[in-house]
Symmetry: C2
Subunit: 352 residues, 2 copies
Amino acid sequence: MKKWETCIRRVEPYTPGEQPQGTGIIKLNTNENPYPPAPGVMSLKLNAARYRLYPDPTAGDLVRELAAYHGLSEDQVFVGVGSDDVLAMCFLTFFNSGLPICFPDITYSFYDVWAELFRIPYERKPLNDAFELKAGDYYAENGGVVFPNPNAPTGIAADMGMIRDILEHNRDVIVIIDEAYIDFGGESALPLLEEYENLIVVRTFSKSRSMAGVRIGYAMGSSTLIRALLDVKYSYNSYTMNTPSIALGVESLRDEAYFRETIEKIVTTREWVKKELSALGFTFPDSRANFIFASHPEIPASELYRAAKEKNIYVRYFDKPVIDRYLRITIGTDDEMKAFIHFLKDEITSRS
Amino acid sequence: MKKWETCIRRVEPYTPGEQPQGTGIIKLNTNENPYPPAPGVMSLKLNAARYRLYPDPTAGDLVRELAAYHGLSEDQVFVGVGSDDVLAMCFLTFFNSGLPICFPDITYSFYDVWAELFRIPYERKPLNDAFELKAGDYYAENGGVVFPNPNAPTGIAADMGMIRDILEHNRDVIVIIDEAYIDFGGESALPLLEEYENLIVVRTFSKSRSMAGVRIGYAMGSSTLIRALLDVKYSYNSYTMNTPSIALGVESLRDEAYFRETIEKIVTTREWVKKELSALGFTFPDSRANFIFASHPEIPASELYRAAKEKNIYVRYFDKPVIDRYLRITIGTDDEMKAFIHFLKDEITSRS
């Protein structure tokens, strides 16, 4: 090793989900939406004459549209390059007490990665045997709390009672609720923003708004928290949201009917897939997200994952303790899910 | 102050350059390019059907195009959301020795902000009276070196002798050369990448490629350094470059003739403006960038800045010691610069 190499920060490299390129692939592995974005997004003619200018650093058009959409004031909304950017900024901004932050042991896989990156101490709190959060684990003194609702990769939603319970026991730290999947079910913590100034709710355009490729995430909270996020963001990179993403994001918010219709389709498909999976002997938590976390009593998930991949069907398999018995299956179109269920039937038949 | 507020990271809020909206404004304050991006960028029909999918996390199309353009291999190129994102990632990845990093005392205003944000110790090395870097200041043991070439906001380019000198005396740390303005003049350090595995050269599409609104920056270096940057980036946010930016960036690189022509126009205008400014009594370093850093012996820069703003002409004024005698004037179109020179003549006449 050369001496300059000792200056390099070593991190555990994160492996993103496979992004297979090509045709004829059924992609149920990264929780993308199978339907296109709103027609207005698809047809929007971008103002290329603006490309030469820096974007509005406040992303004002998008912030205003989001504030109006959620009935908040503009100083309660922060936007970023996908919810990963927003959450990372939240970690950097809000978890500075020196005490360990808390999150579930089975959860979104970036939380521990950001904590390591920013040198924030952390504790993983075990879920119960049914993969549910135990509110009591979050009562002790800590440096902050973060959890997704619904949780990933389980899809289980915490009810309002549990959310309130956690907030009541954490009035002195900042609590981040990551609602990436909330539009597909579950109860949002948004109405609690008025009561808890230390609450941050994070959302994304990647799942329910079919815009993973455009990279838009946002946080909502008290103006004190949003101001602090903006200060850190401006000291990091003033211009993160590019001109196309601001315009496309605004357009998406203007078509509520299409948004509702798309979600309804996915939820209907999800409930149908649950019945099919049950009939095939799978067990799974009752997902409120756009994916199902399912395990078969006899066939190892790793084998199903590989067999599906050979048939050009991609699902997500996590090679980690406990969850390595499960597949995370994104809800695609009805046709895609029929093909997947058909594959499962064949696979199970051929093994029995 | 509530107890949860003590968890918030406090940073010195950075104030980005004014982004006045409206018409009839002559905007010479943020070093934007007055000409549109390449015709292919302007007319590109984006593939909206891809918006629902995550972008390629490697931004492979753009990385390949950049590697081919610069005659490097693909594992020598890293892309990010503007050069601010790329530089911040470089600070986070490469400045971990615990020793202070070094940069000029008059330079790009984000360097000390990032150092503070990531808690990297730093030392500012004074420029000489002519605003030039003194290579000897960078000989002592340090935790890394970063400087722009040409420097900002002075526009002065370091020659190859000085660059080599600094690199020779810093073989054990990582040296970042920020070439945001190199396309307008100056000698690039790119040919030195073969000799110095500890050298990183950073570029942007915001100035010479007229694409500030699209947010594209990139770093070039040895595969060891680029791998380390990718590891940190993937552990932070896997999907930073959105689908539109990747496609628009590729398109820009494919039109070398337009790129050269635009730069030629700006350089010609710059040299003409230098003559006009001299005739009006201004003094300024010999800029190789798309701006001129100019001072008038009698009229304070702050007054000229305000008077220009009243006429809807925006230039940049830094209210900081030493540089508060100067205006940083972006090179616009010939018409814009004529209007600005006309304003200066009027202003000087009215005061004499």
